[in-house]
């Protein structure tokens, strides 16, 4: 009889094998010193600190790890990797987890963050470059946070910080092809 919050460790797990392969890092080298969490700017807002996340991978806790807010609140600021005394590229591990979570279609604990990325990447092949106004409008609509950042809008517009019309770049069509090719390769 298993109790949900009681851990049954799986030291050899699909999660760890998968992450180690994608990131090229040896997860077992982590000795849980906590320096990564101590330096992480968003650790205060995460459910699992980066160190706890590494522990989760060591113990094979797939659901906790892929379902954490940690992987989506990571800013890739690289402070963890820069200071880790075992020289583990933790930022790369987090990156691999994000990609793994998407591949496994895990429900993201910070769905707005993933949504943002998807919208951004939807605009690039269309326009070739980012367009903040489109990005903001689409985000507000699709996330249902209709009034997010609306208060800033007037000032941004009057100061000419936002271009109303999206950019027209010839390279956009090439970028579209690029995206398609990448998707094709990844499907394999």
């Amino acid at each position: 009889m298993t109790i949900a919050s009681v851990i049954t460790p799986s030291p050899i797990s699909e999660l760890r094998t998968s992450v180690e392969k994608r990131s090229g890092q040896n997860i077992l080298e982590c000795y849980q010193c906590g320096k990564c969490s101590a330096g992480c700017p968003t650790a205060y807002a995460m459910d699992l600190t980066p160190r706890q996340l590494m522990r989760g991978i060591q113990l094979g806790l797939k659901d906790e790890v892929l379902g954490s807010t940690t992987i989506w609140l990571c800013l890739s600021c690289q402070i963890c990797s820069a200071r880790c005394p075992r020289q583990i590229d933790i930022a790369r591990v987090l990156e691999s987890l994000r990609i793994l979570a998407i591949a496994e279609k895990s429900k993201p604990a910070e769905k707005d963050v993933l949504l943002f990325h998807r919208i951004f990447l939807g605009l690039i092949p269309r326009y070739g470059r980012a367009h903040e106004l489109s990005l903001g409008v689409l985000y507000n609509l699709l996330s249902k946070h209709f009034l997010a950042n609306v208060a800033l809008l007037p000032k941004m517009l009057t100061k000419g910080k936002l271009t109303i019309l999206p950019p027209r770049v010839k390279g956009a069509s090439e970028v579209k092809k690029l995206f398609a090719k990448v998707r094709a390769v990844e499907k394999q």
Partner: protein, 664 residues
């Protein structure tokens, strides 16, 4: 014709488990020159050895082949067995049927076949063996101890008390090492200088000890029992024979420089003793900073501009006229029979950690700097104050493993003593100021020694130190405070503390110059520059070089009782060496046939042990092997173009006999 006895050992099931002993015995019976075969369950045991001995005598055997474990295990044992039967111990050959056969192959015919081949090879070689006789060499019963810290002091005292003369060489102006810089020692909280000083005085006064301070070992030649050591004695510019140590000179010297002893938290003068209890209690002049010597250099180099002051106040005030500007560096040569290396450690330089300020923040100090602050004879007379503004810190944060357990810094090892000294600091700080609150960021608490665990508990329970499990990521200045960013991994939350003082528990690293000294002595050192012992478990104070011993933190991180024990251990090993009047050399050395030697000395170039000397005969100069130094590596044999060098125990005839055994 030889009469060879072949003895195959079962080694329990280690050999017998995969090798068919009976088949090997049968095959051995057929081998040329074999007069007797037998097997044994455990040849190295008393009954085993007795049976071999009896067989040698009963069967008039003149050569012995033993099929057993590696010669590295029991060659010496079996040599003694053979000798006890009245046979020359070098008429023995061992076939390694264990490490080279049964342990590396599976059960089967091929394994047994291989065992037979190995025995055949050994039999062929043994057929051509000659009796060999070790030589005796004399030894000088004087010792050299390099390093005057607690390990070296203990070694020197024990050797001297055993009745032998000791030369103790120390590169600082005084002995005492790191221990002299400590305030209190864990776990007893003894005053470090108080327990050290009596031993230092004993060294200074011991009739058998010649103390050479401000000196360094420059060159070592020779071999066990017969070392020749060149020692550079740096010019002190003070005649220690006339100096009485009254102190007038250093009290009046106007030139102040940062004191190395005070880890640059305090000052000393240009003419100085490093600390009050220095031994010898007589000063040296730091010629880089002394005003007069700077003036002399200025004049000598013919520089332009305003002449610096001549000073010479010490000379004027010295009541015995002990200042001697003419004194020069001197190189002396000492002949000793054995050397103890006890060069100790220094602390890791934390400025490599940019995230801790990179050395920019005055209120981020190292463990050793805190010792000096706490010490009543230190730069602040025992007042623990912030270096920046002299205020008493109320919140002190400790960071463990600074420069230890850190691949990024190239120091993966644990420095062993830091957990204990942080606990000590927490207890001492509370004694200094009952209102202080200490926070210790740790990864593990390593408290393995006697009374250590109880001591660590005392830090928490009595001194109220809060232990937070997690490495610190960053320290930054915020006004007068230092903000420390860590994680409490037990609560799983980031932690921030506004500290008045941060103490970095810096690890132990080898002393500067350790690698160079190791090369001078031709002893091994590892990738961290710690010196390597002959066997980590069983020979912790010896090196692979006969006659050179190790003691203390130069081997690796350890605390005072361990260093003291090793000092005594090295002294005991040395005394064992000196208890003999002559030394027996290993006869398995190279030997030059002078008739064939053309004197090209290629052998001398390739010898790693400097064991080839030149011998002037009446016709020419030829090479000759110093059998005390020769290790029998064979490089000279391989390189000699004329084939004039032979390696005893590995002659061409013997080796070719092995080849022909295998090439049937």
């Amino acid at each position: 014709m030889a009469r060879i006895g072949v003895f195959i050992c079962h080694c329990g099931t280690n050999i017998a488990g995969t090798v068919n002993i009976a088949e090997v015995l049968e095959a051995a019976k057929q081998m040329p020159n074999v007069a007797f075969v037998d097997d044994n369950k455990y040849s190295c045991s008393e009954p085993g050895q007795a049976s071999i001995r009896d067989a040698i005598v009963a069967n008039r055997l003149d050569r012995v082949v033993i099929g057993s474990c590696s010669p590295r295990m029991h060659e010496n044992t079996f040599r003694r067995t053979v000798a006890s039967a009245g046979l020359n111990p070098y008429l023995l050959e061992i076939a390694n049927l264990r490490e080279h056969c049964s342990w590396v192959h599976g059960d089967g015919k091929e394994t047994t076949d291989k065992a037979i081949e190995l025995v055949r090879k050994a039999v062929n070689k043994a057929t051509h063996y000659e009796a060999l006789f070790p030589k005796q060499i004399g030894l000088t019963k004087r010792a050299l101890v390099i390093g005057g810290g607690i390990a070296g002091i203990q070694a020197a005292l024990d050797i001297a008390n055993s009745g032998y003369e000791v030369v103790l060489v120390e590169r600082e102006p005084s002995i005492g090492g790191r221990m002299a810089q400590l305030d209190k020692t864990f776990p007893t909280l003894d005053c470090s200088a108080c327990i050290l000083a009596p031993k230092m005085v004993d060294v200074g006064q011991h009739p058998n000890i010649t103390l050479l301070t401000y000196s360094e070992v420059q060159k070592v030649t020779g071999y066990v029992g017969n070392f020749e050591v060149e020692i550079l004695q740096k010019a002190k510019k003070v005649d220690h024979k006339t100096c009485t140590g009254c102190g007038t000179c250093w009290q009046k010297c106007p030139e102040k420089v940062p004191s190395e002893f005070e880890v640059e938290m305090g000052e000393r003068t240009a003419i100085y003793i490093p600390f009050a209890q220095a031994v010898p209690p007589k000063p040296v002049i730091d010629v880089d900073n002394c005003r007069y010597t700077k003036y002399l250099r200025f004049v000598e180099e013919g520089k332009e501009g305003k002449k610096p002051p001549q000073c010479r106040i010490c000379e004027r005030l010295c009541p015995t006229g002990a200042i001697d500007w003419e004194q020069q560096d001197q190189v002396i040569t000492e002949r000793v029979g054995a050397i103890v290396v006890a060069i100790g450690y220094q602390t890791f330089d934390p400025s490599a950690y940019g995230e801790y300020g990179g050395g920019r923040y005055p209120d981020v100090v190292t463990g050793l700097e805190l010792e000096r602050l706490m010490c009543a004879s230190g730069p602040t007379e025992g007042e623990v104050v912030r270096p920046s503004d002299g205020a008493h810190p109320k919140t002190v944060v400790f960071a463990s493993c600074v420069g230890s357990r850190d691949d990024r810094m190239g120091r993966s090892y644990c420095s062993k003593v830091c957990c204990m000294y942080m606990a000590k600091h927490a207890i001492m700080l509370k004694e200094h100021d009952p209102e202080v609150q200490c926070y210790i960021f740790y990864i593990d608490i390593r408290a393995g020694g006697k009374d250590f665990e109880e001591f660590a508990r005392r830090a928490q329970e009595e001194a109220g130190a809060i232990y937070l499990r997690g490495r610190i990521s960053k320290i930054y200045e915020d006004g007068k405070k230092l903000i420390v960013c860590g994680e409490d991994s037990l609560m799983g939350r980031p932690v921030e503390i506004a500290a008045d003082l941060v103490v970095l528990a810096t690890g132990m690293v080898p002393s500067d110059g350790a690698a160079e000294l190791a090369r001078t002595l031709n002893i091994s050192y590892d990738s961290n520059n710690f010196l390597i012992e002959a066997h980590v478990k069983l020979r912790p104070v010896e090196t692979q070089t006969d006659g050179i011993f190790l003691a203390g933190a130069c081997i690796g991180p350890r605390d005072i009782p361990e260093s003291v024990a090793q000092g005594s251990a090295a002294a005991a090993k040395l005394a064992t060496l000196f208890s003999q009047d002559t030394l027996i050399t290993d006869p398995l050395t190279a030997v030059v046939d002078a008739a064939w030697c053309v004197g090209c000395f290629l052998c001398q170039e390739v010898c790693p042990f400097n064991a080839i000397d030149s011998l002037v005969t009446d016709t020419r100069t030829v090479a000759v092997v110093n059998e005390g130094l020769c290790k029998g590596c064979g490089l000279c044999v391989a390189d000699c173009r004329g084939g004039a060098i032979k390696l005893r125990g590995f002659s061409d005839q013997q080796l070719l006999a092995e080849v022909s055994a295998l090439w049937r």
